[in-house]
Amino acid sequence: MFTDLNVFQVAHAMAAHAGHRQALVSRNVANADTPGYTVRDIEPFASAFETDSGGFAAKGSRPGHFGQSSSLGGLWAEITPEAPADPNGNSVSVEEELFKAVEVKRQHDRAVAIYRSSLNILRTSLGRS
């Protein structure tokens, strides 16, 4: 678990994914009344992580690291979900976006909690409290 501090990298990627998705959801909500705007999203963290890592191999966490993978590098494929558009060409559903926002918040909280608890374990193992 702590030989290569993998758990921190995964927690970091999870929080970064949540941050990125939060920016997109904010943009969708902001443009909820803009004519001709199409809703945007990124693929969920779980699927991005699975297709990308194939298990718990060591990964690079920033550009330049050996074996740097996209989900930890902060690049996620942007998708445009199929959604029925309003007569003015806008396909944002505010309800859907608020639901996504809650999902993002929970994911972010989870990532921060994992990071903090791992940090505490590491601190304890070093003999500090």
Partner: protein
């Protein structure tokens, strides 16, 4: 990472500003509903692209005047009445304006929620630095 949050915050605040502008024009329309010859104002929303600053922000375009016909009001004693006894009122429909105001309010609230959430997420991240 922090950059994503500041992006989210600036997008949300641009939308708040746009909705407030829209609400101001609705208020102007409602207060001038009885002004003779007043045409209702509408304000279009637009998404910024890479060309004009950071993408995804909401801006309001130029104010448009509604070109629909003014209502003819029958009042022979009115100083602006013509020979048939009619004068031209405004083309403001109060029901449309109130529906518009309500929609602007709802969107404002949704953006406020997103702003608050981005702020909470970034502060929870900063909490990690505290012991």
């Amino acid at each position: 990472m922090m950059n994503e949050f500041s992006k989210a915050l600036s997008v949300s605040s641009s939308a708040l500003r746009a909705q407030a502008t829209r609400l101001r024009h609705v208020a102007e329309n409602i207060s001038n509903a009885d002004t003779p010859g007043y045409r209702r104002k509408t304000v279009p929303f637009r998404t910024t692209t890479e060309i004009d600053g950071p993408p995804g922000l909401v801006t309001t375009g130029r104010v448009h005047l509604d070109r629909s016909d003014l209502t003819a009001i029958y009042d022979p004693s009115h100083p602006m009445a013509d020979e048939t006894g009619h004068y031209q009122g405004s083309n403001v429909d109060l029901m449309i304006e109130i529906a518009d105001a309500r929609e602007a309010q709802r969107s404002y609230e949704a953006n406020m929620k997103m702003f608050d959430q981005a702020r909470q997420m970034s502060s929870s991240l900063l909490d990690l630095l505290r012991k």
